[in-house]
Symmetry: C2
Subunit: 165 residues, 2 copies
């Protein structure tokens, strides 16, 4: 549950942030030529976990860290407009979509909102298989020419990345 003053606090934190901000020399093209695709999970700080600094990498995140159409759109922009040539895709242990009973959740949403929608939540039953499938989709996409694509698991208990593919 968010605090009622949370938004005001964020604006105040940002005001403080601007006082030491000095990245005006950076351009839109990531310095490390890297695009990272990861789950939205709050426990994963992509920059810290991968030793990235500001300006190094595009960061694309969604529920599950899954290579959806929108992730592919973003990667096309990343590679062809902004010159990235390496992709790292990251799933993680303890993901809310792992083993979720998707049909039950959707039925409950339809009942509680009174609106029945066909929105797949993309739950999955095998974390490493999900990562492999996403990486495979990226490797095969005709508009993604980048040949360095890795898939990793982030362990939320230890912070460790484990290479899957």
């Amino acid at each position: 549950m968010s605090d009622p003053g949370e938004f005001a606090r964020i604006l105040a934190e940002n005001e403080r942030y601007t006082e030491s901000f000095d990245r005006s020399a950076l351009t839109a093209a990531p310095l490390a030529g890297l695009a990272i695709v990861a789950c939205m999970d709050a426990r994963l700080d992509v920059g810290e976990a991968l030793g990235m600094r500001i300006g190094d990498a595009h960061v694309i995140r969604n529920a599950g860290g899954i290579a959806t159409d929108d992730v592919i759109r973003s990667l096309i922009v990343s590679e062809h407009l902004l010159g990235t040539d390496q992709i790292i895709l990251i799933g993680h242990t303890g993901c809310g979509l792992l083993g979720a009973d998707e049909m039950a959740i959707r039925a409950q949403l339809a009942a509680s909102t009174g609106v029945d929608l066909d929105i797949p939540l993309l739950s999955f039953d095998d974390l490493e298989a999900s990562i492999r499938a996403s990486v495979e989709r990226l490797r095969k996409h005709p508009w993604l020419k980048v040949d360095k694509i890795h898939g990793l698991v982030f362990d939320v208990a230890t912070g460790r990345l484990h290479q899957v593919t």
Copy 2:
């Protein structure tokens, strides 16, 4: 352009990261009840710019910070599976999609790859209008019940957030 040793360096950086990692008490539910939607831009460190700490917020990012179907899927998971009740959506100055000649880019991709695909890149001509349209889409979505939704611009030259809606 990424360095050939970049991936090995990342794994080494992560090994060092695990040595001081101690977030094993955190769960999947974000502590601040917050979901952040932002552009993938490398110059935007969402955590730093908003004064967020690890575990505070879901972070959903794509090219443009646009409320696509996949962002809505992620926000449904965020709200209904993991209890967030506030959304902050962030676009930024100097976005690669701002004013991009989308049809020319797609024609060039079709020519260089030999495969013609209908993949809208979602370029836009007015940053604030784009943010307002995205926020409006979220506010109207029947499966998103969260009533606190703000739209902000991040200035890549100063680090400052500016509220649009």
